[in-house]
Symmetry: C2
Subunit: 433 residues, 2 copies
């Protein structure tokens, strides 16, 4: 048996405590699998006194995670503090500079500094592993970096935020409004007190930025992602989607186009019979289209202490086994600059919901504005006018394939015509399989 | 850059030719990813003269694959001949005895000799990789062996045979009978001239035997698998399934029970809304339930030259990168003996379709035989009697959870009562999510 692998863990919240408990509880089988013992020799967290469910005997305590990374006698450093700047960044940099491999679950760190850290790792002859940073327990990083290493990827997309998927699933299954579902998600611990990072689409965007780099061999470009959250999705949209044979999901998509790479996170209507439409609740799913495999789909728990700890442990085991692939699948010097696709290049069908004043000329305005922008309509449904208040009728349009620019132009013209109450609702349709 | 990896490939059919073409076409990016060149230095196939779409210049030709494995100057041996006995077995053994890592797509070889070959690999300080042997391009071996290495698996199940899934999907979508669908599958190359291996469930069983070993750390036990194929599935069953909210799939299941491990391959009714029910056509899917991850699902192409070549290449890249995990996830000496679950231990609901003679007492016979065996019924549907011929009425029963032993006993008693025309049809119901 090889020498033991000495681990330093910084951050002992839910995931960190789970990792330490697992290494204690499953010590024998882990050692058998990888041919060497895993031993935690150094830890750091905010509160030293707390009992975290594992035996800290023999572990050196550090108040400062950066000092742990810089000084502890360790063979691998596990960063589970979270956050893209300051201490976690400094700690990871310190470990890499010593040539010590780093395992992290920190999506923000990767999305903001992934390429720089990959370079630092390479310069120091070590590597950075981050399976837990994207889609929790689903082995999507391993799949993209190793299993698909002979493939040219054309698209990667999926459901990357469990909070949003939980809310959308409950809205659909129980007919409850967005706000009530969000409150329940918060009560259940699926959403933060400030839910903006999740429901605004930013969490999914961080994960997508990382997947994009692995998929296309490009530098990470979080700031290029078009991001739209789910807070504007109403029960009316959910109901209309069901009637039209779709379900609404917060989709993250990165696709290679002629003009560059398109990255977007937004609510989308996807066919109710598609695989992704079956992904309910806090489950995540990632689909990858590539030249050799066609399409593969991975689905599973996108968050949670045990699932995330499983992914961290998988990386630790790879370090223990001596397999350290390049951080982003290629040596960092070979990553291509990110080339953003033309704005509004997205093509596909669109769902549009309008609240139209019940006046002569309203329907002609809709018809003309669509025709002027060369948008052909697959279906139009006008419901009975609501005669409470000003009397508006809900009108739902589904367009054939068109461009985002055409849709925006038509909706702006429609708004100027003065027949609409409030802003038009627009949801992209993705014709997935 | 490290020294090049010299490859010997035996078997240049569709998959082998694809692998060689890919290594030629993608040489640069593969070398970048893994830090060393891949070079095919030795090949063997049945017909030397055939053009297989890659440049054989500089490759040593062997008429005998065993001689290639024994003598060629290679760093890894790729076995793509197929078949469990004779030459492929001898060739793999010869390579392993030289301490040369072996990559194979050969499920029969693994299912029959996997443990012995794993031992041979370990004794000679090398390893055997076989991602392509199960579910084609889906990285299920890598996921189970590496990504789930900290998990205790409780169940692994899925759709492992594309031919059967193609036939069942077409029967359902187009209302075409089994025989016609099979002929089409043969015409399209999805089924062999002798389709028994696929439609009899044997192909799925070979793959399941391998997954079971990885899931539970046990020795491979192909002969313990309960196998039932799809040839008895009729359009009547497909229609009844749709009416009941189910779809019929050939399911392969391995589950840990109190009395041992249950392995079975058989048609099953699964909820139409479940993830596996969306898996159509030649697509495969594998679901894994484990302590840390709950449930994850992987779906993708289960066969085809490019997808299988992708999996072979993934293994070759792992060999090139120097990562050789134990063949079956654990050192072979630590594999547990396979402990088979008690016979007929399967518990769940059952679908039963009877052709009942239109006589007084028939219904009482059904009711009594079910009651005697403590089987409670969830639903009973009797259609109008068919008065062509002897006049039988189709009766469809759906039972609540019961045991296979109770069902068999009830059906045997029913048959003895003499009200049934032909054999009763019985399909297990799996309440998957």
């Amino acid at each position: 048996m090889k020498t033991e692998l000495r681990l330093g863990i910084a951050g002992l919240g839910t995931v960190g405590a789970n990792v330490a408990q697992l290494i204690e509880r499953k010590a024998d089988v882990l050692a058998e699998r990888v041919g060497r013992d895993l031993r935690i020799t150094a830890i750091s967290a905010r509160d030293r006194s707390r009992n975290r469910g594992f035996d800290t005997h023999g572990m050196q305590w550090f108040d400062d995670p950066v000092a742990l990374a810089r000084e502890a006698k360790i063979d691998a450093f596990v960063e589970l503090i979270g956050g893209s700047e300051g201490i976690p960044l400094q700690a990871v940099e310190a470990a890499l500079k010593r040539g010590i491999p780093v395992v992290t679950a920190n999506k923000a760190l990767l999305a903001h500094h992934g390429v720089a850290l990959a370079k630092l790792a390479t310069e120091n002859g070590t590597e950075l592993l981050f399976e837990a940073a994207v889609a929790g327990g689903i082995p999507v990083i391993k799949t993209m970096r190793e299993a698909l290493s002979g493939n040219d990827v054309s698209r990667v997309y999926g459901i990357l935020n469990g909070t949003c998927n939980y809310i959308l699933t409950r809205m659909e299954k129980e007919g409850i409004g967005f706000d009530a579902c969000l409150r329940d998600a918060q009560a259940l611990g699926y959403a933060e007190a400030d839910p903006t990072f999740d429901i605004g689409g930013y969490d999914a965007a961080h994960k997508l930025a990382i997947l994009t780099s692995l998929a296309f061999g490009t530098e990470i470009s979080l700031e290029s992602i078009f991001i739209e959250g789910i807070s504007k999705i109403s029960i009316d949209d959910i109901t209309a989607a069901q009637e039209l044979g779709y379900r609404i999901k917060l989709l993250a998509v990165a696709v290679r186009t002629d003009s560059g790479i398109e990255q977007r996170v937004h609510p989308a209507m996807i066919p109710a019979r598609s695989s992704l439409a079956q992904v309910d609740g806090v489950t995540n799913a990632v689909a990858i289209d590539s030249d050799l495999l066609g399409s593969i789909l991975l689905a599973g728990p996108g968050a949670g202490g045990a699932a995330t700890a499983s992914a961290v442990l998988s990386d630790v085991m790879d370090v223990a086994g001596g397999f350290v692939p390049p951080t982003l699948g290629l040596p960092p010097s070979r990553l291509q600059p990110y080339q953003r696709a033309r704005m509004r290049a997205h093509e596909g069908g669109y769902y549009i919901r309008l609240a139209v004043y019940d006046r002569v000329g309203a329907f002609a305005s809709i018809a003309n504005r669509m025709a002027e922008n060369s948008i052909s309509l697959e279906s139009i449904v006008q419901r009975k006018a609501d005669h409470k208040g000003e009397g508006t009728a809900p009108v739902v349009l589904v367009t054939h394939e068109t461009t985002e620019a055409a849709i925006r132009s038509a909706l702006e013209a429609l708004s100027r015509d003065g027949y609409l109450s409030g802003e038009p609702q627009m949801i992209r349709i993705e014709d997935l399989e």
